[in-house]
């Protein structure tokens, strides 16, 4: 298992990330651009040294600056898929994949056999003898995936492994990856931007912003109770922070929401975009929360339209195309937004870990 506390200073940026992954567990590391995901991955791989904390894998201490312990990359039982592939340009796809097995002592023949198997698994049996520059972006990405998997590592590190794959191959490769990870006794860290990847592949999510963990937990908890704006957007919820007093929550900017649950103290309030109803005039029905809002953007979202709204609170609303046609939505238009108290979710803001407040 992986047991680490990664501390890396890079100029003005500081990564400070406690991380444990049990054998067989898949942890997805999510975060906005520049949050430090790649930095964490490189520190685990031994490509940058820790400046603090410690790192041990399968009971071995790999990096511990305090105790002057350091293991070079090539002696760590890892496999890495890099964000920009880094396929060796002078080797064929086959030899790229066979490179790792060769280093593990397999004969050239056996290593090539294993490589061919892996290439076939990622759907590239026909491109075995292509040089990387003759591969398209997605083909290259799949070779990189095969190359990292072929060493059967104790810790598998994936930096956006599916980002460049097309929708179809992505589905297949994701299923393959899921299959492989299921049969994989080691730990896996998956860096991704794609919530679907995270939800499908990971057992647990770790979300970092600006080098620090802002939320952590199993998929269900994180998606149900986002704690930062980033996570809320990731899972598609509107999220606000405020102070609860019974059924009323006063948000940090003064606006007040009525909620279904009772709470007291610092809380988060979340509701889905589909819970937001739009009306041309002030509604006087059941919804307890109504406010005037101005349309700032409209995008298709699946079968529906997602409308971005400004006002006392910024909010996203999902409505059907039929409703949109009825309301004759245009950007700049002002109308009324309504959310039923029963549609809101409220949960305490006192976080189990070092969470930094976000509006």
């Amino acid at each position: 298992m992986l047991d680490a506390h990664l501390v890396v200073d890079r100029g003005t940026f500081r990564l400070d990330l406690p991380l444990t992954i049990r054998p067989g567990e898949v942890v997805a590391l999510l975060g906005p651009n520049g949050a430090g995901k790649t930095t964490a991955l490189r520190a685990l791989a031994g490509l940058i040294p820790l400046t603090g904390g410690h790192l041990s894998l399968a009971g071995r201490h790999l990096d511990d600056p305090g105790r002057r312990i350091w293991t070079p990359t090539e002696q760590r039982a890892i496999g890495v898929v890099f964000q920009d592939y880094l396929l060796f340009p002078h080797l064929t796809a086959l030899d790229n994949v066979a490179f790792g097995p060769r280093r593990q002592g397999l004969s050239r023949h056996r290593a090539r056999q294993r490589a061919a198997t892996w290439l076939a698994r990622v759907g590239l049996a026909e491109h075995t003898h292509c040089k990387p520059r003759h591969l398209s972006g997605g083909q290259a990405q799949r070779v990189a995936l095969a190359r990292a998997l072929a060493v059967e590592p104790a810790l598998l590190l994936l930096d956006e492994p599916l980002a460049a794959l097309d929708a179809r191959t992505r589905l297949d490769t994701r299923a393959q990856l899921q299959h492989h990870l299921a049969g994989h006794s080691g730990a896996t860290l998956l860096v991704t931007h794609d919530p679907i990847d995270a939800v499908v592949l990971a057992d647990r999510l770790v979300i970092i912003e600006d080098g620090h963990v802002v939320q952590e937990g199993d998929v269900a908890t994180v998606t149900a109770q986002p704690r930062t704006d980033y996570v809320a957007r990731l899972v598609g919820l509107n999220l606000y922070r405020g102070h609860a007093d019974g059924h009323h929550v006063r948000l940090t900017d003064g606006f007040q929401l009525v909620t279904g649950d009772r709470h007291v103290g610092g809380v988060f309030v979340a509701f889905a975009p589909s819970a937001v109803a739009l009306h041309p005039r002030r509604p006087d029905g059941s919804p307890r929360n109504t406010w005037p809002a101005t349309i700032t953007g409209i995008q298709r979202h699946g079968d529906n339209l997602r409308v971005q709204l400004d006002g006392p609170i910024t909010v996203a609303a999902d409505i059907t195309p039929a409703a949109a046609a009825h309301l004759k939505l245009t950007p700049g238009q002002t109308l009324w937004a309504a959310v039923k108290a029963a549609e809101t979710r409220v949960y305490p803001a006192a976080a189990p870990l070092n969470v930094r407040a976000e509006p």
Binding site: R68, W70, A77, A154
Partner: protein, 281 residues
Amino acid sequence: MSRRDAVLARPDRSTPPARTRRTGRVPVALLLPAALGLLFLVLPLAGLLVRTPWSTLPQRLTEPGVLTALRLSVQAATLATLLCLVLGVPLAWMLARVDFPGRRVVRALVTVPLVLPPVVGGVALLLVFGRQGILGGWLDSTLGVTLPFTTTGVVLAEAFVAMPFLVVAVEGALRGADVRYEEAAATLGAGRWTTFTHITLPLVAPGIAAGAVLCWARALGEFGATITFAGNFPGRTQTMPLAVYLALETDLEAAIVLSLVLLTVSVVILASLRDRWLSSR
């Protein structure tokens, strides 16, 4: 899978700097030949140091002419390097980036001055730029420019001998550079010239620096072509290697002293220059 078993506990006391921690151990198969190579290059220098007449060193160094020759050497080598950069970098670019007919032959021709014994190179320069040479007479009569036996002649002779080093090194660097950055520049509206100056040159700066170092050092040590084309006039064309040659005629020790002066100056200049260039990125 033995690599999974080795965990290297480093016994050293001091906290190692970040860069070395990443690099780990240096394999003996590389360390040994590298050390041998260095030894091979540096040992002869030790031989010279052993024979240096340390007691008489001060008065030998203050002899008139030493400083003059040294200054002339450094100036001429620097000017020659500049000339080589101006002419050689575009030539290297043509060889690396433009697919013209006969490119292979041109590339091989560029190495001609490398192979030509320098004295013959000097003769060849005389045959072209001498007063009776192919171009020399014309230069003399129309422009009033005489090249042989002048300081300009020294620069020319050194440039002739040293330019191939620059061209070959820079071409190698250009071929190693990623052409796609140049493509990206083109999509942003940069013509070939702008792309060359704004993108290509900065990208291959380390390669150009390496080539310029080679070129400068070769020019600094140039002897045969210089003495043949420019003569051996103290203060005008007598560079340090020429002074060393004359000293060898009479006095081995004097020659060694002069060589060491030349070496010291060059090592000091190179050691102070190169890191600044190399860290240009």
